[in-house]
Symmetry: D3
């Protein structure tokens, strides 16, 4: 892949931004992570309640659901506060449904037992890739919450079956690039979000041509980039989870 085209970020086509995963970020949640993909910063918490939604009542299994939000001034210009407008945008709903599906892909809900894990991803600063950062951070928060359930003897076997992380890729000026920041994303022809497991399986592929439609060849190049990027992210999740709390 040629690097003749210069990315606005100055990064190589296949370079992630600096990724930082800070556990135990706030004190109340069973899992609480600050995830940073460059200037994108998201607080991901996992909360466990001993209840399941109505549609799962008396089925023995558990549930995992996600909500997503952005502080009004996480972005360049202030957005309306969704709570004040009285409803979530379609974009917000799409993202929180995506986060929920991504995490459920690595959760055995039977093993979780009759309880619900609530994931909350709140963007405090946005610079592109908030949904992929959310999934990547939320996994770590959910892992911490599960560890507490195990430590407390409330479950015996972990319901987590694999790692899961996500990254965006896109066609920037004809070049496939990894992990778009806001400036790159807004000038991009194709934007693709990819969610994969530690075992290398695809959980979600969502590619959208913002301008010119994309070809199979381009799609293949994008998927190659995403696979490598996600492998790196999962290494970072593992490293973060190995740190013992003092």
């Amino acid at each position: 892949m040629t690097d003749i085209v210069q990315r606005p970020s100055g990064r190589r086509a296949d370079a992630l931004r600096d990724v930082r995963i800070t556990r135990h970020y706030t004190k109340h949640a069973e899992g609480s992570v600050l995830v940073e993909f460059g200037d994108t910063k998201v607080i991901c918490t996992a909360s466990v309640v001993e209840r399941v939604p109505e549609f799962l009542r008396d089925r023995g299994q558990g549930w995992l659901t996600a909500e997503y939000g952005m502080l009004p001034r996480a972005t360049h210009t202030r957005s309306d506060r969704e709570a004040a407008r009285g409803k979530q945008t379609g974009r917000t709903q799409e993202i929180q449904r995506l986060i929920g599906r991504a995490l459920r892909a690595v959760f055995d809900l039977e093993l979780l037992g009759p309880r619900t894990v609530h994931i909350d991803c709140d963007v405090i600063q946005a610079d592109g890739g908030t949904r992929t950062a959310s999934i990547t951070g939320a996994f770590v928060a959910a892992h911490d919450a599960v560890s507490k359930l195990l430590a407390a003897g409330r479950i015996e076997t972990t319901p987590i079956t694999d790692y899961v992380a996500a990254i965006s890729v896109g066609m920037y000026d004809g070049m496939p690039v990894l992990d778009l920041d806001y400036e790159e994303d807004s000038r991009c022809d194709t934007d693709m979000n990819v969610v994969m497991t530690g075992a290398g399986g695809f959980v979600e592929v969502q590619g959208t041509a913002e301008g010119v439609p994309f070809s199979r060849t381009e799609m293949n190049a994008l998927l190659d980039l995403a696979q490598a990027g996600i492998a790196t992210l999962i290494e970072k999740q593992k490293a973060a989870l190995e740190i013992k709390r003092d």
Copy 2:
């Protein structure tokens, strides 16, 4: 591809359902199409208003937007009426955003001029694939609406730059299959919706692992099926559009 696995529909792995596109289905809309993918039936209308949304004011260009709904008893069991509940579900919003993006991919909004095309896709009977049928039918409705604008001299050059259609594909019992009906969809491991243009470019690829994650090999097989299926759908759109109204 082996056909040893039997689809519930009895169709070959690469077979579409019967697809019917009926133009001029209702009398008021500028474009009105009943699209049928087997037992899935959607009324798609295109309405033109000489106004643009606030965010495009005084920019000279036009807009195309889509809304989607299902009659409460389009499905096996009755769903709540969204108008009575007072809000659209996240699923509805995702679908209508997808339809809008798909059609805008083949619309030159400058050439459309300062007017809005409203697409309405209303499912009167659902049997899987309502979003792909909606996109396929909505294109024909939009085309009819544009023809009226051209015939009336309100625009000089068509803003439509290509055909666009959509199909679902999925992994059924380990076999990649085309155009899932409801029964197949609900037993499927991976469900992928693909939107392509007449020129063969990808507009959207949305693949989700409902159960086991999918591999690159499976993804490639699914995309092959989708490409062939969409080529057939676009033939059907062309055939429908060639029919002169008496």
Copy 3:
């Protein structure tokens, strides 16, 4: 009654439009009817659920309720989608309350037992008289749903006590006329909707002077027209219900 005034429709003052009642129109609902009064087309479904609303809990009796909607482009110019606006208009609520009352007038809710019949009337093309077409079609859909309950042995005695149908009448340019289409309705001085049973009793009479108030004499002439029109509609319901499905 003089026919010197010419109706826009060209019909005689006492002539209904072509009325067509198509049963088994969609496949999932227990009763599903397409009713057409000329160019007015409404899909009426009856869905049975084994539950009653909270206010009837443990009372042994059943309930019948109705909802009404219009596709956004059922009309000359596109209306806002009620689900997107987040609420139903006052007009919609009035109509769905009327449909529910009309059908309950011929339902013995004790005999129905602890279950609810949900009527959904969705207008796919509007040309005046959508509420009267809805009532007339919904009765047939409800009848089909009840027949299924009887055939399945879930109830022993039909809860349906009589036929019920509805028609509009109005003063058009000083002349009482039957079954107004949109153009007539919008130029009409008085608009009256009448709901009657097979036995000839009145269930609802809703007359409104849009312009000049109406006299007792005019009211009597309108009721005469309505009585004859409804008798014809009930013949059509009976004929439709006699058709055996292959």
Copy 4:
């Protein structure tokens, strides 16, 4: 008409309850009336604003619109406050639409000029007939508001073309009776609300069979009662409007 059946109220079949119309009831509104039909008490105000709704912009004419509400404990058992529930019931919307239509029937909106009369009818104590009391009282409030416009020289000719009042009638135990109170209304087979002008024209007739359908003969008897009752109410409106304020 036989009086052998005894009304719960002890009134003769053709007797109104005590009707009191108190003008200048609250001090801010251009017209403010407390109307009492026996124990039913409604505050009716008319407010004038120098603005018209969007759909009448630049048309020169005015508008009259009505809203209706009930204090939560106006009734035997407390109802939910509509403002707290976040929406008005279908019943409320039906009533406020009826009040608006009734008053517009005697308003020449061209003569009113580009302003809006807002009618507010708020029930502080309910004992049946709140919608008919509202219409009867609202007319007087609107008349007072118009008088102020005339006195201030803001309009030259009154836009009020006639009186308008309303009453309920019903079949009680086989007997047609006038002006139902709550107890009578809840045991009644047929309930009919009639709105008429001073000239004796019908503006609205809304009859509903709560139990047994009603016959033409019964309908005629009910309309006779209503005509006489409304004539009396209009006398009371005239008497109230003749009182000069000190």
Copy 5:
């Protein structure tokens, strides 16, 4: 305190408006009071239901909650009807939370038993001080409701532990004044609402500088005025409650 500054009302700095408390104002509620502070008129009702909110289920104790509303034309210019807007303003919510807290301060909820007292305060005419009039009147309504519970033997010991009333005070043109009417309130620098018990304890003090911040000295002068005013109000509550109903 100097009286050189003239209040718009002409009242002395420490003078209340005419206060009138009329019990049994409407007939359905367990307690129903019209409270008037000059031209401010509020209907306060207390309704008892044998149910508690979810968060108190199976705790044995009761609850008291308050709602507040204003008729749209209670004010100089018409306000939007909150039920029509679909939500209560922040101001309304603040006031109804204040009323609830004030009354709960003198209610022993254990003694009340597992039932809820709903307070409704509806302003029919506003001239400043609606929240303080509401609290003062609501206490009397709640007292009447409790008396009925006692008389019916549904509770044995009164849960009411003391009187409670409220008044506003403010800095008007540098002078501390009692019980602001609308005109005074809108020209006032500081506005303070004080809620006190019969025993002279403070339940709420809410002081807001609308213009210039206030000093400790001013605060003390305002509290002195409020204490005296509330003592008078509680005398009026006692006098009202001593009146036997005929």
Copy 6:
């Protein structure tokens, strides 16, 4: 004041928690502050838009408004997300109205000119005193936003007329204490929030007896504590604002 009673926090009765004010916390907002009162952490941003609300159109002056929110898991147990519920609680509305009033008390809106300062206070971790921390931090964020307007020459004279900060005080087990944390707050008899300016004037005093009413003597002791605490907070604001950004 006696220190024999031990606060759960171990702090002296007149001791603030550790207060930290971190400017430039997020990168997009004109002013962005992380304020910490012990374990209570709030992100306060100030955003400037060149627009005023409708009610100030063409009046030349500006506006300042505030919104408040809490991340769902900022608290011990997860709260519903207000954006998902579709409305803000009464508590949220009360707090954001308080923050707005507090800051407007030190803003000359004429000097601000026709623009709006939007304050957003989002609690990422709650441990009591979120509203007082919000006001204290929001002032610094607003100050930074104003400095940018001055530096850019968009205004010539600062509209900020004084400092403003807030603190809570309460009666804990009979002892007046400063700056309640969550545990203290939930066991407190009286809770009072005080907002004061740098010049020592009161902007708001909101005292509520949660249990036993409070006396004048207690009130005076609480105000003494608050005055001293706010003086310290304003020192911290000044110190934070003196730091030059690298």
